[in-house]
Amino acid sequence: MRRRQPSDPLPLSNQKPVDEDVRLELAQHIEFRTEELVAEGWTAEDARAEALRAFGDVLSVSKECRQITVRARRSLRRDEWFGALLHDVRFAVRILRRAPAFTLGAVMTLALGIGANTAIFSVVNGVLLRPLPYDHPEQLVSVFEATERGGLSDLTEPNFHDWRAQAHSFDGMAAYGTDIGTLLGADIPSRVRTAAVSEDFFDVMRVRPVLGRLPAHDEFRVDAPPVAVVSYRFWQDRLGGTQEIFSRRLRSNFDFQVVGVLPQGFGFPDESDLWFPIELYGRNESRTAHNYAVVARLKAGLTPLDGDRELDALTVPMREQYLPRFDAVGGTVAPLRDLEAGPLKEPLYLLLGASGLLLLAACTNLASSMLVRGAARAHELAVRAAIGAGRGRLVRQVFTESLLISTLGCVVGLGIAVLLRRGLLLLAPAGMVPLEGAPFDLRVLGFSLLLTLLTAVLFGLLPAMRMSSVRPSQAMREGARHSGTRQSRRLWSTLVAVEVALAVILLSGSGLLLRSFSAITRIDPGFRAEGVITALLDLPDASYADVHQAVAFHDRLLAVLADAPGVVAAGVTNRLPLEGNSPGGAIQVEGKPTLPAGPFTGYAIYRTASTRYFDAMGIPVLAGRPFNDRDRANAPRVVIVTQGLAEREWSGEDPIGRQFRVYGMDGGEEPYATVIGVVADIPHGPITGARREAYWYPYSQNPARTRSMKLVVRTAGNPAALAPMLAQLVHDIDPQIPLEFRTMDDRLASSISDRRFTMVVLASFALVALLLAGLGIYGVVSYTVAQRSREIGIRIALGAEPSRVQRLVQGGAMVVIGIGIVVGGVGAVAGTRLMRALLYGVEPDDPMTFGLAVGLLLLVGFLASWLPARRSAAIDPVRAIQSE
């Protein structure tokens, strides 16, 4: 029956009385009994022996009694604790309801802070933290070639095959490419995202069809009958979700048969709907034509760095063997996540950091208003301390109020976060953040709960400690008005300085983004976007099997457009400005060594265009002539180059009449083409990027890629208004061509919309921080004036100039603001360095931006302290002194 005694959690000091109580009580009993027996005539010795016998086992009884009592006291203490908590909460509710304005302000301030943080975090969580929806996503990597030009590029086909065969770091390596094609044979002609993948692709991604099968080994051949697997979504939406899809023939790039359906949610790469064997697109044996994007699965336990090293080593002998028709210097392996998160990473982390600073500003603001309230409540707290509330008890009471405020703030903040998140996703550039990619999951909720606790500690604990340290005697004697000691004034000054500093940091950061954005909008892109409308002309491969049919289509369309009303100039090109730097390849200039020794520098971007493309796009022809109608397929081959290319290849000499040719593009070497014109450099990729050298062929002389061209129309009036007429003209020729119009202005704007997004969000944070700083200064100076009104009244009564008094009051505030600005300036210099990658045309320590931020804060600080300080000058000395 002996039970092991549980380890006793009660501290020794509490246990002692229990032991003592029980011991004493039992001893007493024995004593009483002995005395009674003695009175009955027993001898003392016999009496005691009888008393003990009648009692039983003293030791075990005392032990049992002690255990029972200890247990009882423990549960009593728990009940007391909960009771006190309930009391604290009730009391806090009462206190807060008595000051509805303060409570509302505090809750809303926090709600904004928590809401902003939660919204940003939900996007960060969805885009950057959520694991990719593939099996063991941490093993998936992208593979690139590191090229002589210092960048990364996709792999060439032969390099891919060599690496795939030789590298041991991977459990599989697969190539893929993406395209947007036209689909015929389903319900309506529509555009689909297609992917071309190599045989290992589905193994690397570890995806199995839910219906049908994957393409078989024999179907990954150039001459195999085309087959495809489709996405679950495509199967449901376009094919009716039935089992009978396998008998249907569809037409896109090929006449093909569907053999399988992939599981729901799988869309890699680029949310594709159709996956074809990559071999169907033909082979390209060039080692400088970078056409294959590559995804691989690292062997378990290996890091991307291991992959890098192995690929670098494999590249050395390849380079020796294939130079000079080889431009890779090594391989680069990066987590697939980086590719998927893409350009979002830096802006999102910046915004997350900024929203953290904003929350800190909100807490600081609240801490100072809690202190002001605390001073007003000093009397109440002093009374409570006087009637016996311990300091811990008072801290707990005041902290409960803070916790209540931040809990309310969290609830409202979650509501705000839902709205903000929607706003963020609307504001975010299309495709930057997938809506379903930012769910409110448990992690987001946990994050906001953590924030709630953190804010309660930040803005509540400090004031709670301060407020509870009042000495009852002093506070009660002096009354509430004088309890603002020098110490608490110093604390307020610190809080105000912190608010100012945070506002300086956020203002500087958003100022830099603003200046970057304005610098970007002032960039001369080298083309004129106003009045230009564009459309993708995607000719279905199946109906335009012969590229000459495609050429004929464009010839005919451009002839019609030349006479159309409202059209100033119309042209076509394979890639618009801003669309991306590929494709490109090496060129060989006539008269120069066929293949220069040493680093290969002959890279240039490859484009095709129609005769009036440069007019339509507004790209100025700087020398020579644009294409004209005589530059036909059978005429001498001609080419137009950018200024940059002309300077690189023929610097100081006249480039017109010179000749060059392309290696490796479109298979094999081509004949030389003669330079007939030079045009301005334009951004092929991001507008802020380097303007790479490029050249254009007439599409009629290089028709290989004419099935997918972009129509460019310069209009006299509003370009969007011309779209219906243009669509009519295109469909008069071929009604099966799907069209999506976009103005060039829109393309330009959306190419920088991620920057605008980051800037707008950061700027709104900065404005809120500025507002908080202003309110904080105003509140503290107002309170100081009210508190010192007696002293001020005496000064004025003794003959001090009211304006001097006002300057004195405001001067004190401005010193604090100045300190905040200096601290914030240091923080901003350190902080803005981290955002260098997001800046354009401005340095992270740009003095003008910092100057503006400081100036703005000085102005706001001056106004916020001037308004209440003015009141000090208006104090009536008689009333101020009498009011005590």
């Binding site: 109580d21 004493l24 009580e25 039992l26 007493q28 009993h29 009483f32 009994r33 009674e36 009648a54 009692f55 039983g56 086992d57 003293v58 075990s60 009884v61 049992e64 009694c65 029972i68 009592t69 247990r71 009882a72």
Partner: protein, 112 residues
């Protein structure tokens, strides 16, 4: 004392509650009251009384406090709480029903 009886399980509690229903008492007084009230019929070790007291203290039926005994010594006094009073009433009525039922059966005439 050869004629002593063992107490039924739980009976001690009801006796203690009953003792305290007259007013606050210390443990020894309770023990004496039971001994004298029963004419020494029950075989109780005094120690069992104390575990009973402490257990009922934990349950909130009685309250304990240190005080001074009639002979001027410090002693721990026990007092019935309202919950204890209710408990006593409930148990006492159950006890009465139990005893009278047993008595009824014992007194029943033999079957015809």
């Amino acid at each position: 004392m050869p004629n002593e009886l063992d107490l039924f399980q739980g009976t001690l509690d009801i006796l203690v509650l009953r003792a305290l229903s007259h007013g606050p008492m210390h443990g020894y007084a309770v023990a004496r009251w039971i001994r004298e009230g029963s004419d020494g019929t029950f075989r109780i070790l005094d120690g069992a009384l104390y575990t009973s007291l402490h257990r009922m203290d934990e349950k909130g039926w009685i309250d304990a406090e240190w005080g001074t005994s009639e002979r001027g010594k410090r002693a721990r006094f026990y007092e019935l709480t309202p919950a204890g009073r209710a408990e006593l009433q409930q148990r006492a009525s159950r006890w009465d029903r139990y005893v009278s039922a047993v008595a009824l059966v014992m007194a029943a005439p033999a079957r015809a």
